[in-house]
Amino acid sequence: MTRARAVALCLASLLGCAPQQQLAAPTPPECDAACQAQAKPAECVSTQDYFDDLAWPVLEGCASCHVSGGQSAGTRLVFKPSVIPDYLRQNYVIFAEASALREGGASLLLLKATGSVPHGGGAQLEAGSRDYAVLLSMIEQLAAPIECPAIDSDGDGIPDAEEPQPGDVPAPLPVSTGLVLGDNYAVLRKATIALGGRLPTGAEMAAVEGQPFTALTPILDALMTERAFYERVREIMNDVLLTDRSREETGYLSIMSELSGSSYGGAFPGAAEFLTADNTGNTNARLVKTADAFAREPLEFFVYAAKNDLPLSAVLTSQFRLVNAYTAKALNVPWGAVMPAEISDVEATDYDDFRPTALPGINEAQSGATFSEYAGLLTTNSYIRRYPNTCTNHNRKLARYTYRFFLDFDIMKNAPRLDLSTVDVSAHPSRNNPQCTGCHAQIDPVAGAFMNWTRCFSSPPRHYTLDDKGGSCGAAGWYPDAEMFPPGVGAGAANQLSPGDKPKALERLAAHIVTQPGFDRAMVRHFFVGLTGRPMLEAPQDVSTPGYANLDAAFEAQQDSFDALVADFVAGGRRLKPLIKAIVATPYFRAVNAEASDRVELKGMGGGVWLPPEVLHRKLTAVLGAPWIEIFQNSPVYRARADGLLLQRYRMRLFWGGIDSDAVLTRQQLPGGLSAAGSERMALEMACEHTARDFARAPSDRRLFRYTEVAQVPSGDRADPSQAGIVQTLQHLHERVLGERLGANDPELIASYELLSSVRAAGAAAVGAGQVPATLDKLCGGHIDLYTGAGAATAAPNDAAFVLRAWQAVLSYMLMDYRFLFD
């Protein structure tokens, strides 16, 4: 069957490859001798040629859906379209990988193709047909591929199969060609900012200078023990799980009111008192911090695994909850070995110190039974609240996201188009209609695995036994099998949970998930995306897209790198820190440039990502010694929660492209007009607040203007010996702010010097002419406490020579630069 015919059949009624529309060509029901002869040629045919000439014509029908951008692009079988120059070779590899998938010992491909297991496209082949025999033979050959002697008909030394053909499209260059990787300093700086929220130390820089790349390893190891690293882990995983929604301005009230109210049958009698009584006189700050800790618990499982060098499987399989002193006190449970009554002053504890605990009031049965259920973050309130059950979704939302987060499988990319004319809405179509069961056979069992955490109507997350439910989910505690695929850890009878397993269904699910290859891929994906700052590339979906072949090459290269990372992750015990080091070592993190432009196949390499507000917040602190704050806001809540404009939802965070985990779920990787204006304001304001402040320190204590003094006036002649300290300071600023190590005659250094001297000269003239004041603006004087306003009565420094403001201008210029604002 031709591809065109398959496509025509598929699209004829806009229904896609619905099961009623058999795509298979008319074939005999049984493969007789003649048919077998076609499937198995007598002469030598290499397996690749067999694929090209016999198997691919059969598979073309599959490829009308199983192709990048096709209806089945989210499955494990995604072919390349013929627009790719070597699509047959690539599809051979793709088929070979997919043919290794088995179910019950049989080829999953053939089971799907014959409709023997749920298949979104229904049955496409008849067992015993010629096409079936071809695919079966193909799969058998892959175990020991056949090679035939090369034929060179024209004797030119090039085998016929490799002769250039008219219309051949030059393949994109390999991605490693012409790619410029950053030197050790560049990678070190990027890593310390991204992972540690700080600049590299002098010792660290010295340790990697001129050394092999592996010299970074011990530095990265140390970096990944710092507090900021764990905060970055939380941020990266919240971008995935979005459980911080409960922390946002109003969400924390509801999560806490559940605890302190009657939702848990009064299981936490001390919660209300703890949350309202505060010996600092500030009840709101304690409430906020407790709610934050409760909401962040799913993320803390990743931190806990990292801190203790555990396999990341622990985030699902840990048999405990995680609490810090605040939540331990509110929930009245031990904080590690410390009993709640012994926690006298939560403010004195380390807020980030989360410890394992049992949480009987939530994870253990309320009705006197002995059941309990602990499955890492799956059995936390925050996770279950984020993807809530409703009367009709029957936990499917939780199941869908559990697949996506932990099995690297987005079931919605696998959903076939629906043909309404065949749907009997009265016959539980999700259980019975083949259009629906392809997905629901997978999603519903996992939804059922969350059965103990719902009463099938609005109810707070906790473990409910059958008695607790009181029949609200049906007599058996879950929906009848006739209406919904029964609870399990995946599709199929083999994955179904036994009655004895159901009280610990999520524990069984977690144990199953972490054995699946999808789990490893999911973990690697989350941190790859987090560290590179952008989603992984997807295969281009439309062959008419300009540069399709190059985009596909970029996708394939990234997939290769990703596969290697997954293999290393598994080999390294599934631990986070080795994974992060491996990601840092890839060109996706290290690349800084290309030798030529227009290399579309290098997409995804290197930077070009607008820094997330959280990372920029820390970077500012690292470079200038202080974050960008809303001045003169001295309240404890402000300090406790969001000590910076970039972190506040309704100040700069959303303008800057950040998320709120609620309505805004994806980060912007590019600046718009508002974020560009915001970055200019940040640069001007921060330079104002920190130029004179830095100059006021002893030179050895300065972060910025270390090698010059206010009395040193930029003359305009940078070669003059009197300007040496100024030039050296500019070099220092370029390195500190922008990561650029410049020689004294570098054009960029010259440009900065010229800006400095020209602004100074013009400014001094303006002062002399009375057009601008001789003193600094008061806010820029560097003597006012920016939180309290203390010192405001003191006059601002004199700057009649305009040197301070000229340096302020240079610092502004650097803080608004691409290299400061982008990764």
Binding site: T392, D424, E685, A809
Partner: protein
Amino acid sequence: MAQAASDPGVMWVQVLADGGLDQLFACDPHLGLRSGLNSAGQIAGGGEDARHEVIRYCTLDPQVATFFSANAPRMLVFNGIDTGTNNHEVGVRYSMSGSSNTGYPIFAAQVAAAFAEGRPMPLIDVSGYDETGGLLAPTRIGWQNLAALASLKQPNRYDYHYVASQNIGPGEFLPAQALASVRAAHAARLGRLAQALRLPDAAHGLAQLRAARGSTAALAELEDASGSGDADVIELGLRAFKRGLAVSLNCSMGGFDTHDGLGGDAAQRQRIVALVERVQLILDRATANAVPVVCVVCTDFGRSPNYDGGDGTDHWPNASMWVVKNALVTEQQLPLPMNRTIGLSSAGAIATALQPQPINPVSFAPDPSGVRLTPGHIYRALRRAARIDTAAVLSRFPLSISGPDLPF
């Protein structure tokens, strides 16, 4: 007069009824499928035989009836749109972009990208799904942070503070002359970097920064705003369009996913009333601001013919969409047929109702051998109407359809 290439002519507003609008209570009423919708008198605009031509609407709620009757002359309704999915995520993506492919920009972003040059906030995003496909950054504004915009209009100025018994400010961080030098040096620096950075993502990021920086001076034109609801952001967006700062606006309204237990028909009808009131507000405020505006109202998918319990309804891949303009939009600015419905869904009992029906692509009459409308058909037509169908920025985002295009 032909519009200049850089002038969108009209402001496009994309409104998402998030969750799945029940077409029966709006522009595709059928009798017998909803309790309360059983009388012919509860449908206005035309008889059953004309349902593929005229705008027919449900009159159960007077606000809805008033909206359709008042706006019909400036309105085009699409019914019987085959979304092919019951999934919210796919449905929203498809019905807002015209493609079910991931990463495709919503229509408001497509228009904004085509006319973005020199505008600091080409796509104002009040709320909801705002995929831009990397074409541009959406300007996300909630009413809660309207006040914070003031600090961005004039980045060099800070406000008055009274702190520690002292007056500080208002003031400027840098004297204007020095600021001008910084900006000029910065622009030159970005130009040099553009020559040096050759990785595609870095080059694209830098180009976006340069474009964004080049547009920020226009923000000074933005009027001060404060807010108590999305209407205030819409007002700001309309004024921003009038001053050449914005091209399009995107907003969504949730609460349409009215299953059993989530409010059912009563909640659905309330949300439809709120939706038409929101669209009317946009039209009215645009008129008051002398802004020609076109609203594109879309939804994930429709709702099932049957109840899924109580009076709640399930997802159903048969949707409706409205294009409605205010009176300031001329025929030349929006070359679309008005005061009519294109496309239809099947009538009848639950087992057969609400299925997208094929139509003749020229006459729009029911035609078994015709085409079924998809979001792709509609957005291809809207691209032509917005004069962005040949825009170079959209070359990466072709919209594929089966069968012929709509003839406008």
